[in-house]
């Protein structure tokens, strides 16, 4: 079973909840994998301290197999204008390319071929009983979605099984990277906060979840601050709140120093235990 922890707004506590939940489940003897899909700023490793092996990740880009082509101009079909015919040659803009391969198919003389281009690194390993996956996009790269899809594809192929749990720590927002990270999930856990920004972005995130047809549940972090709007938004959308986590200075302090707050703060740990229980029964219901 795969649970994506998402939010809309950044900084609501996705990584706090995802790492805490994964570690709590792992301590119960479940087979659990944590996948950090926030490839533009991965930080789950700071808390879980895994040992990992790394491999480079590539996407396909078009190249001329020789120096020249016949200049048919047929490669000018790119939806993203990533390739421009230049007389008897072409100019390729790697950052715009979506690796669809259409130009290679369109080239009548077979002058275009697909070559690998490195865009990031995938790490896999373990932290105690927990399996750990993450990826990091190279500095200067414009598109993280292929790396997220690649990471989740590899992690799910290796880890997913009916009796195992995969916790996907998603990037914020509701654009392609966020959608790619929740697309394979059986349940999306929205972590939100009772602030105007939290509510605004939660609405967008819930809309995204509905558009993708995903069952959703929510965690309200810093639940004793702010106002009631996120609670109203969730009630209107029919999304159950499985945990309310009040603000605690000790949790923030543990998090800020890279420690697992479930090991430092008893009140917080018991809320994550209750969240894990609630998710267990929710997932049991879903698998029946």
């Amino acid at each position: 079973m795969k649970i994506a922890v998402a939010s809309g707004k950044g900084g609501t506590g996705k990584t706090l909840v995802a790492t805490s939940l994964a570690a709590t489940w792992a301590s119960r003897g479940h087979g659990v994998a944590y996948v950090d899909a926030d490839v533009e700023e991965p930080n789950g490793h700071l808390f879980l301290s895994p040992r990992v092996e790394e491999e480079r990740f590539c996407v396909k880009v078009p190249r001329l197999s020789g120096k020249r082509c016949e200049g048919s101009g047929k490669c000018n079909i790119c939806a993203f204008n990533a390739i421009i015919p230049l007389g008897d040659s072409v100019m390729v803009f790697d950052q715009l390319c979506h690796s669809c391969g259409a130009c290679v198919l369109a080239c009548p003389g077979g002058y275009l071929v697909e070559r690998d281009r490195e865009i990031g690194t995938v790490s896999r390993g373990s932290a105690g009983d927990l399996r750990f996956w993450s990826a990091r996009l190279d500095v200067g790269e414009a598109r993280s979605t292929p790396l997220i899809e690649g990471l989740i594809g590899k992690a799910v192929a290796a880890e997913d099984a009916p009796e195992r749990l995969v916790v996907i720590d998603s990037p914020p927002g509701t654009t392609c990277p966020a959608m790619a990270s929740v697309e394979s999930a059986d349940l999306v856990l929205m972590v939100t906060e009772p602030t105007p920004f939290g509510d605004h972005d939660l609405r967008l995130a819930v809309e995204m979840g509905k558009a993708l047809g995903k069952p959703m549940a929510a965690v309200v972090n810093r639940s004793d601050l702010g106002d009631d709007r996120v609670a109203e938004t969730l009630a209107e959308a029919g999304v159950d709140v499985l945990a309310r986590i009040p603000f605690e200075r000790e949790v923030a302090a543990a998090y800020a120093s890279g420690k697992m707050a479930i090991e430092e703060c008893g009140g917080f740990a018991s809320r994550i235990v209750a969240l894990a229980d609630a998710l267990d029964s929710r997932l049991e219901g879903a698998s029946k």
Binding site: F80, N81, I84, P85, L86, M91, F93, L96
Partner: protein
């Protein structure tokens, strides 16, 4: 044969059209014959609404239409790279001119040529 002058315009009308300060997302282009100063043809900019790659798309449009010099308000970094690779000269237009006015300035040597890629 590459010899025409292209001017980015808000609406592809003619010599009276206002220069569009954007290259990649210009409404269209008026192509001028440098020998006569008259309109050779007008082009809609099919790349203007592209999510990404408007600049490279518009550059490709220049290449397919025999443009040697293009006048606009600004050229983004990818458009610069593409036009430079295509051997199309880039010239900077002051704001608020018509096609006729800016072509006159180009032919009189009063425009600034963009020779360095800018990130902005």
């Amino acid at each position: 044969m590459k010899r025409l002058i292209a001017v980015s315009v808000e609406e592809p009308g003619g010599l009276d059209s206002l220069v569009d300060p954007r290259f990649g997302r210009a409404g269209g282009f008026v192509l001028i014959d440098p020998d006569t100063g008259q309109v050779a043809r007008t082009l809609e900019n099919e790349a203007a609404s592209a999510g990404h790659g408007a600049g490279t798309g518009a550059a490709g449009l220049m290449a397919r239409n025999g443009v040697a010099q293009v006048v606009s308000g600004r050229f983004g970094p990818k458009a610069y790279e593409a036009l430079n690779g295509l051997g199309v000269e880039m010239w900077i237009s002051p704001e608020g001119l018509t096609v006729a006015q800016v072509v006159r300035k180009l032919l009189d040597g009063e425009l600034e040529r963009m020779k360095v890629r800018e990130f902005r």
